[in-house]
């Protein structure tokens, strides 16, 4: 009797590209959803332009960071929805594809699809702020870190929910508090000084503060720069490493 054999070794990240493409196809078929990622930053930009046009550059930088931050909310929603409603975890993870490939493929796939609004905002920022090449590269690196932090956080959080309805409320609360209430769209200087160390430890507002200091919209003491930059790097790396561990840990439920 001929016995079929497995084709794929279970090496780390095996299947990432294929699952990424799956996610791109899935998300790409929901074209309206792509536009919804522009709603909140778009509304805020219009308000800023009406109420205080001088802050439009800061708001644009904030909008770019916010758009990458909310990709984490989409990872949270998608990961939980696929696990709870579609049992996609069972389908994909009881097989050679690794859990880290599932997490990364989903996160990058979502990022690719929702990147268009971010790129559009980036072009606007180059024209309006205007951004130098160095500042642009800094903003790109910070936005990437914010994305990685948010996607990792979103994936980790997604594993705790048993019902999709609960997720919508919590994810909206989490991403709006850290992405809108904190000084992401407005200068750090307008935020109460006693609470600034806290927001400098939150990745979206830390990234915003760093760009604001470079374009002259905020003044950061050296320790504040160190806190924002160090905190952002440390938190991003820590959460990403934990997300990989957690993705592996949660394949087999207790």
């Amino acid at each position: 009797m001929k016995t079929s054999t497995p084709l794929a070794p279970s090496r780390a990240f095996a299947g990432t590209a294929a699952f990424l493409w799956t996610e791109v196809l899935v998300q790409g078929n929901e074209r309206m959803a792509m536009l919804t990622s522009m709603v909140v930053p778009g509304i805020i930009l219009v308000f800023v332009e009406i109420l205080n046009p001088a802050l439009i550059g800061v708001a644009l930088v904030g909008a770019i960071l916010f758009s990458t931050f909310t990709m984490g909310q989409r990872v949270l929603n998608e990961a939980a929805y696929l696990r709870i409603d579609h049992k996609a975890n069972d389908l994909y993870l009881a097989g050679p594809m690794t859990p880290e490939a599932y997490f990364l493929g989903m996160s990058v796939g979502i990022m690719i699809i929702y990147l268009a609004p971010t790129v559009f905002l980036g072009v606007l920022a180059v024209v309006v702020v205007p951004l130098s090449l160095g500042t642009g590269l800094l903003l790109f690196a910070l936005a990437a870190a914010v994305w990685l932090f948010a996607a990792s956080t979103g994936y980790i959080f997604s594993t705790f929910f048993l019902d999709n309805r609960a997720i919508w409320a919590y994810s909206s609360l989490f991403f709006n508090v850290f992405g809108v209430l904190a000084p992401v769209f407005y200068p750090l200087g307008l935020f109460p000084s006693a609470l600034r160390p806290i927001v400098l430890l939150m990745p979206p507002s830390a990234a915003a503060a760093l760009v604001q200091s470079v374009i002259g919209a905020a003044t950061l003491a050296p320790w504040q720069t160190a806190l924002a930059a160090g905190g952002l790097v440390a938190e991003t790396v820590a959460v990403f490493v934990f997300a990989i561990y957690w993705a592996r840990r949660t394949v087999m439920a207790d």
């Binding site: 079929s4 794929a8 799956t22 929901e30 009881a94 097989g95 207790d254």
Partner: protein
């Protein structure tokens, strides 16, 4: 790849959650599935079938006991067992915004199949499951049965050495169910092994080489369909719609089961004439048919409930 396709020894699972008493879902299940077999798990809702399947497919941690898949302990080294398995999860759905063709192809690619192989197997699986007509429609527009066929087509396209199917034909019409049966038979002919759960006893009977009846987390009985049916005590069943009141007259011929006014008597061919004579004498009517797996199942599970 060595050993039995699957071997579990004294497998136990207790679900613990804060604020609620622990639930013992498996109380010591031992079983073997040989290579190339099609084995069905039968049981009532909540009997422990899905829990067993989830543990065996590396998706749920056992409380104690062991499961080996091709010799790999699934608790100690699940990553070694996973390349050999594929799962149709209970109530799983394809991606709503993919077509069945995209769903199968991308799944095969995610499992590491080369493009050409994935493409060929996708077409083969679509054909085999009768999905060609819907192959390029988004799954969100398909009926429940068509979505389920897509899920099964996705998994059988892998031709994995060990396939776990949790209620694979639920919601399918009789034609689609037969297509699944045929596909599963051809898979085992190619060398795959199949462990499935089902509530359709006809499906279990025609499809499985062996069956396990599970009740309250334990194996009640196991064997071929014929062996399980033989345990009922006869090969024929006589259904007497108004016979319950006269049950005492039939007790000496075999097992009697009453259900409201009706009576079912399990008999062997050589006593059938005597039973029918009483039926005729009492001016009752009766229908005679072969004992099915349903009688064996109801008897095994019913006896277990009554013993409590």
């Amino acid at each position: 790849m060595s050993g039995e396709a699957l071997r579990s020894v004294d497998l136990r699972k207790i679900y613990q959650s804060r604020g609620t008493p622990p639930v013992e879902a498996l109380t010591g299940v031992s079983m073997e599935v040989h290579r190339g077999e099609r084995v069905a798990l039968l049981g009532r809702n909540g009997a422990g079938k899905t829990t067993f399947l989830k543990i065996a497919s590396t998706l749920l941690r056992p409380t104690s006991g062991s499961v080996e898949v091709f010799g790999f302990d699934i608790a100690r080294s699940p990553e070694k067992a996973r390349p050999y398995i594929a799962v149709v999860p209970q109530e799983g759905k394809p991606f709503f915004h993919l077509t069945p063709r995209e769903q199968i192809y991308t799944y095969l690619r995610a499992r590491g199949f080369a493009r050409e192989t994935a493409k060929a197997r996708t077409e083969e699986s679509l054909e085999r499951m009768g999905l060609n007509e819907f192959a390029d429609r988004l799954s969100v527009t398909l009926s429940g049965g068509q979505r389920q066929r897509t899920m099964v087509a996705t998994v059988i396209a892998t031709e994995a050495p060990l396939l776990f199917l949790d209620e694979p034909t639920i919601g399918m019409d009789p034609f689609a169910r037969r297509e699944v049966w045929s596909s599963l038979r051809s898979l085992t002919q190619k060398g795959s092994t199949i462990l499935l759960t089902t509530h359709y006893l006809d499906e279990a009977e025609v499809l499985s080489n062996r069956l396990y009846i599970v009740e309250r987390g334990a194996v009640l009985s196991a064997g071929t369909a014929e062996e399980l049916k033989a345990s009922v005590g006869g090969t024929l069943k006589v259904l007497i719609p108004s016979g319950a009141v006269q049950v005492e007259q039939f007790r000496s011929f075999g097992t009697c089961v009453t259900d409201g006014l009706s009576l079912t008597v399990i008999v062997n061919p050589h006593t059938l004439g005597d039973v029918m004579e009483i039926v005729e004498r009492s001016e009752m009517t009766a229908t005679v048919g072969p004992v099915t797996l349903e009688e064996a199942f109801l008897r095994a599970v019913g006896r277990s409930i009554n013993e409590d």
